[in-house]
Structures are given as C-alpha cells and as structure tokens.
C-alpha cells in the first residue's frame, strides 16, 4: 500500500468485505454509515475525489451514498440505553 489514496481504497474495500454477509444493500448502507461515523472529512473527500475503479462493488456503492458534511445516521432510532452511554462505541 503506497499512497494514502490506495490505503483509503483498501480500507473501504476491507469494510465492505467484512460486512458482505449482510447482503449487498445492507452492506453498502452499513459501510457508508461506518465511514461517515469514523472517517475524518479529508479522508472522505480524498476517496470521493480519487480514481474509484479499484473499489469493490459494495464499497463503490457505499461511497456513492455519502454526501456532504454533517451528521449522517442510517439508523432511524438509536436503541435506548440504560445508563446513558451511546449505543455505538469506540471505533
């Protein structure tokens, strides 16, 4: 893995591959959500701006789902947690 862009493409493909058992639609959506939750804006801009031919189909769809800045929550309702910790944790 040489450049940062290559690394980002690898990361996106890796996420998509690990979520593949969810089925294509759910995997693309979950990959998009994951990236939006944990990737810094520059990284998202970079992967959107680079040559995307090396992205796997699910990863490519996921990148396509991410638009703009600001919070992006795929889940419509966070499950209520008893003690106030957020339902999704360290990444």
């Amino acid at each position: 893995m040489s450049s940062t862009a290559d690394r980002l493409i690898y990361m996106a493909n890796q996420i998509a591959r690990n979520l593949a058992t969810m089925g294509d639609d759910a995997a693309a959506l979950t990959t998009a959500n994951h990236i939006k939750q944990y990737w810094e804006p520059r990284m998202i801009a970079q992967i959107k701006g680079t040559d995307q031919s090396a992205l796997s189909p699910i990863a490519a769809r996921a990148i396509g789902l991410i638009h703009g800045t600001g919070p992006f929550h795929v889940r419509t309702a966070e499950p209520a947690s008893i003690d106030g910790t957020g339902p999704c944790d360290a990444g």
């Binding site: 893995m1 690990n18 058992t21 939750q37 919070p71 499950p79 957020g86 999704c88 944790d89 360290a90």
Partner: protein
Amino acid sequence: MGYEPQADFGTPASTAETLVTLTIDGRSVTVPAGTTVMRAAAECGGSIPKLCATDSLKQFGSCRLCLVEIDGARGTPASCTTPVAEGMTVHTQTPRLQKLRKGVMELYISDHPLDCLTCSDNGDCELQDQAAAVGLRDVRYGYSGENHLGAMPDLSNPYFDFDPSKCIVCSRCVRACDEVQGTLALTIDGRGFGSKVSAGLASDDFLSSECVSCGACVQACPTATLQEKSMKEIGKPERSVVTTCAYCGVGCTFRAEMRGEQLVRMVPWNDGKANHGHSCVKGRFAWGYANHQDRITKPMIRASIDEPWQVVSWDEALAHMASEIRRIKDKHGARALGGVTSSRCTNEEAYLVQKLIRAGFGANNVDTCARVCHSPTGYGLSQTFGTSAGTQDFDSVMDSDVILVIGANPTDAHPVFGSRMKRRLREGAKLIVIDPRRIDLVRSPHIQAQHHLALQPGTNVAVLTAMAHVIVTEGLTDETFVRERCEVDAYEEWARFVADQRHSPETLEPVTKVPAAELRAAARLFATGGNGSIYYGLGVTEHSQGSSTVMSIANLAMVTGNIGRKGVGVNPLRGQNNVQGSCDMGSFPHELTGYRHISDDAVRGQFEADWGVALDPEPGLRINNMLDAAVDGTFRALYVQGEDILQSDPNTHHVAAGLKAMECVIVQDLFLNETADYAHIFLPGSTFLEKDGTFTNAERRIQPVRKVMEPANGYADWEVTQLMANALGMDWSYTHPSQILDEIARLTPTFAGVSWERLERDGSLQWPVNDTFPEGSPIMHVDNFVRGKGRFVVTDYVPTDEKTGPRFPLLLTTGRILSQYNVGAQTRRTANTAWHPEDLLEIHPSDADNRGVKSGDWVKLASRTGETTLRALVTDRVAPGVVYTTFHHPATQANVVTTDFSDWATNCPEYKVTAVQITPSNGPTGWQEDYASWSERSRRIAASINVEAAE
C-alpha cells in the same frame, strides 16, 4: 499517626453466611462460621501470638505459638487451626500457655542472630514482636549449640535479599509462592533441624530459579530473612500513602511507604479490590525509573530535529509552543493540528489533553494508544452489548467453572490477575486456551489446560465460528437466555450462518490447524461445564478481523447464557494502567467522554456550553491517518503525552516518515523516547508518584492515585497541559484534579456519581456510577444489556491479506514478558533488565534446524515491510511455522517488520500476523545501526548557557 504495618488477622476471612458467637477472654464476638479462633480474637481487638500464620495464607499450624485454652476441650489447641463454635469460651493467656509460648520462643531465639539493633527489620519484625509478647527474658539453652548463623545470604535478586541465618522456617514464603502467586518456586529442603528454604534445586539461587520476583514471599516473611534491599539501605518508613500502580491494567493498589519524600518501598495494599494484597515484580519493585539518570526535568526546544536540544525555561518553551501552534493553525487550519493522549496518565490528564485539542487547537484529531490494542473491544462489544468495556470484576473468576483464555497470556501480562485465575484453576475449574503458542498457563504447577487449541495465527474467527457451529448444531444453546435477553431475529440469522456445514470444525481444520475433535470437545466443555467465562487480550484484537473476533466472543457468551452474573462474562484484559480511562475520557477522534459521538448535537452542545467554545462536529483523524495526512502535507503539528508511537506503532518507517513530515512535534514524557527523536519541543512529565488523579483499570474500577513527592520536573502532567492551554489563550484555572473529575462527572452520565470525595470514602468505584447504579457496577448487563437486547452479529471469516509464501514462509506473532513493560521506557530503566536484557526470537526446533540456527545465534527477521536482527531462542512453545518475539527494547526495532494491515473497523494494527523469513546473521542490520546512531545524535542536549565552565 506515623507508620503502621497493615492489619494481619492471622487466617483468611470466611465467606460463610451463618454467624457464630463466642467468648474470647471475656469479650463476646460474632463472626461467620468457619472463622478461626485466631481471626476471631483479632477481630475483637485481641492479638494471639503467632509466627507461621498470616491472613493471606491458609493456616499451617507449625509454630505452636498461638495455642489457647478452650473450656471443655482437652489440651492446648492451636487457635489458627481451630474453627469457632457457638458458645465457645476461649482463654488466650494462662500460666500454662505462657510457659509453652516462652518455650517455643526460646528454641527460635537459640538459633537466631541477636543483632536486632542493626538489623534491617528492627521495629518491623514479627519475631521481635512475639518475643516481646510472650515475655521472653532468657534462653536456657544458651547460644553455643548448633545453629545456622553462618549461612550465606543470597543477594542474587536485584530487589530483595535472602538471609537464611535469620530464617525461622515458618514456611510462609513457600506457602505464599504456592497459594498467592501460584509459581511454586520455593520449597523447604531437608528435614528436621536441617530444614531450609530453597528457591528450587540446591544449585539455584533466587535469580536463576523459577522465582518471578513478585515479592509475595518478602511480604509474608516475618523476619529480615527476605527483605527489600531498599529497606536495608534506607530504614523503616515513617508514613504510608495508598496509591495505584502505573504499569498494567490490573491496577494493583499499593501503599507507598515513605520516609520524607523518599520512597522506601511499595507494598501491596491488602484492601485493594483488584489485587487483594498481591503484586508483581513491576509494581512492587520497578519504580526506580522515576529517579533514573535519563529522566529529563527541564523543558527543551530545537528548531530542527538535526540539532541538539536546547534547555530553556518553562515560559520560553510554552511561548514557543504557542507561537508555533498559532502559526501552523493560521497557515494550514485547525485540522492540521492534533494530539495523542496517554493511557498511562490519569483520567483527568487524558480529559484535559482531549479538551485542549478539541477546544484549544480546534480539531478532533485526538487519539490514544487503545487504537493499537483494544479499539476492537470498543467496537465489538458496543455492537453486541451496547458498551465498550468488560462485563465483570476480577473477583468474578473465582466463581467460574470453565475459563476460556483466547489471545491472552495473563501470567506474563496481567500477573496478579493471572495468579488469581491460577488459584481458581487449582481449585478445579477447567481451562481452555486458544493461542498459537503454548503459553505458561497451558501447563504449569498443578494446572493443565483441558484443551489447548494451537491455531494458525489469523484464524480466530474461524475457530470461534466452528465452536459456535458445534454449540448450535448439537443443541447446546441456552435457549431461555437467548429468547429472553437477545434480539431473536438476529440470533436466528446468526444461528443459520454458523450451522452451515462450511463452518464445521472438520471443514475448517485445514485452515485453523486445530484438530476437529479437540475443537468439538472444547466447545462442548464451554457450553456445558457450568459458569463459562472468557478472557481475551491482544491476540484477539490485533488482527485484521479483531473487531469480528470480539463480536464472535460476545456471540459465544450470549449463546451459552454466560452473561449477567458472577463467574461468567466477557473480559477484555486491558493492558495499560489507564487505557480504559483514556478511552472513557473521549480520547477517540470521533467521540466525547462516555463514548458519545461528536456529531450528536445534544451532547456536543453540552460540551460547547461548558467549555465556552464551538466544537468541530466531524470525526477527527486516527493516529495512523494523522501520519498519512502528515506525509500528504495536510497535518503538521502533534502533541504527544506519555506515548511512544515510534516504538510501539507498526511499520516504523511509516511512523518515522509521518513524524518527519510534521513541523511541530511536542513530546511530553519522562525520558527522551523514540518519538522524541523527531520532536521539536520536549516538555518534561511527572510520574504517578508525583501527582493526584485517578486511573481506571480493566474492571472499569476508578481508583485514586495519590501524590507522595513533589514532581521532579516542577509540575504534574495535568498542570503542564493547563499551562499549554493558557499559553494558547484559554483560561483554565484548575487547582486540583478533583475539580477536573467534577467537570467530567457533570458532563458524563456514566460518571455522574464519581467524585474525589466519594473515592476517598469508598476506595474505588466501578462505572457506571449514577442514579441507576448508585454504588457502581461490578457486573454489567445483569437484567438487560446496555443496548436493551443483546445482538448476535454474523462474523464471516475473512483471511488476512498477509500471506506466507516461498520468500516469507513463517508467521510472526508478538507478545509481552513479565519483567518488561511494553516499550520498556520504564522497566528498561530499572533492574528488571536482569531478567530480560534483550528481545529474543522464539523459533521451533524444526524450523531452526532447517536454517542452521541455534539458541543464542543472531538471526535476521525479514518481512515484506522491513528487516531487523535479534538473537534466537529455540523452543517448542511455538508450533512449526510460527515464530514469536517481544518488543520491549528499541534496539530490536521489532516494528520495522510489522505491516500496515489493520482491523477493518478500527484500524487496530495486525501485529499478530506478519509473514517473515528467518536467516542466520552475524549481527545487527544496517538499519539498526543507523537507527541507533541517529537516535543517539537526536538525544544530544546542548549545555545550558547558564552552566558555569568547570575550572
């Protein structure tokens, strides 16, 4: 008040629930059934003379000093071996007892040096105390009979001496090494008058024996026979302060025993909830690094990393830092700045560093070392359970029937907890170990794992899925638990997935290299053996499927109903003393304290209101992304507190390139570490002995750290961060860490009930501590999971992209050793180097033979990433095809060979799987020599202008 030894009740407490009332010397006392008469006397203000009894060990009954008279009972029973009975009447002092006790003491003293006044145990010696208690006045046998006064002392251990001339052969040391530590290194050699304590064979001394220098025997010894060298040199302490160890995630509580501001010794505190009076070599003895000559106490700056450091005043260093940060921020924006919090510094300090970065620098580029160790735990457990921490406390292991240890080596990395686990195993609990290497736990004195699944590195998910397959297909699921406590749809989808034939142990055997029958037996044992608990470490998380493995572990716990009570649970063995705390304190780039996402407007709004500044709502960069961005030119300044990313992060060349590309690297540490080679500003830090604050251990237990001496560098670490913040124009005015803790509690629901005052009162608290759990939470997910229902997550086995091949046919995995700690910054600067002066490469005999390698030979360890050289150790602890090394010494440069592969969800580096080749070598590589000389050049400190020239 002065110095008082810790209370010793003679024999261990009883856990029975029925109570018994008896009378001792006319005083009535009520104690649990099973308590000994000796302990009952101690609990009602008495003190029956004793020498071979101490309350950390089972009663022994050998010294015959503790005899009592009991109405209606014949003779003079030993109170240590006599359990209380309802209505018993005990007399501890009668003329007959007096005579008997004096007789015993006379025999002891007839063979004991009479140098009390110059003895290192003067005033702290139980033999002295008992001679006084029994009223010994003369020894009728005289002193010219046969004796042991000429016995040679054993000074081999760097921290304590063994002087057999003072030994009374009470066997406390032997029993401590057995019951408390579980190493069984000591024994009584010989018989009768010739009995003597021996550290193994007659040819062994303490250093060459199996002794792990935990200090349990030193603590147990009633005389000066086993004595700390520091006590000999300094003298009896004058006061003691309870504080928490700064090494590993067990978080042992110690009494720092002081004379003035000099630390005499660290003695484990018996009331410590994590350690219960035990310790390991590091916390107990290896605290000398605080005074090591390498310690830097003055700030230093330099314009470029090729120049030597210039010592400057604090004002100058801070002004320079502020101007650099402002300059870079103006030119490149706030997102070009970032920092790394320390998982060794306190909660308050981690909180302030992330506050400085978010509110002061203006970016969310903050990360912590959990990135490279347990970040998959955070992700995996939050997805399945709803919270990112272990579910139990350490004591829970004592109620476990089947213990599954995967990717962890507790006897080396969490020794005090490892000893407790071994105690439970010796009581009969069963053990399953999943590890490519035959760790000590697999087979050690009185312990043998029922199953050791020596899997191929990188196949954790396959093994756990195969185990799940066995449980689901053989009908071993805990249906009740799953139906009541878990999301049923998710369970059914998962159960369908694991039940598929392609996930059977037989189908996966070629991949995992684990014999199918063995795996099936292990799965059945875990599912049906009673309370099943899982303990795991970095062998689980430091993989490209680390998060998936954690989720597989959670799935396994849920399907067998092993959650929500004592003796079960999912237990990540957090490594650093405060990595749990550092994560809790919002050190991750995407979340604030309590693991709440930065993009959550309500949460962020609360912080903005409290801190008085707007915060960036987007996630920040993780450490490895900061390095990438630095090479790309968009990340320029880094503030690193108490962390050595150059030594501990993977792919050293990549880290060096990133650091080199930055304009302003600020390192705050005790020593010039490897990262400081690339730093422009060095701010000296303080040790855990020099500040107040709190650490949170692997049990979520928040414990106080108390200052016992003034910081040698002038400021506690949190004060340095505050100085930096104020130099940048913020107006922080904390005067004590308790105020920072109050702010944390105000802003974090899981910490709402935590305060310094509460910790002073209660000793420690396990979070969550709030209205729902006012006394804290030893066990989590008792009635419900934090997320409501537990969620099964399907985890498909995705092999790592790091493949072996003809050029790199072996797989390297890494780990830790007991005596050194992580990058060794602290332990290499103590006498612990006696045990592990260099990192060694463990290689199987067949692989070694094929290459003509013998133990002690230099070998070159090469991967696709880089190469380095170290000495070999031929052993069958590793399987053929697998090699192993540690990373405690910078000279080894072990991370030159590790790869860029990392966990898919968290980027936790895949340290545990590197394809390598081993070849004989004749010495260090060119890189190591270059690195060593570069490092040496980088640590030059120019003489201060104020130093007067020597005549």
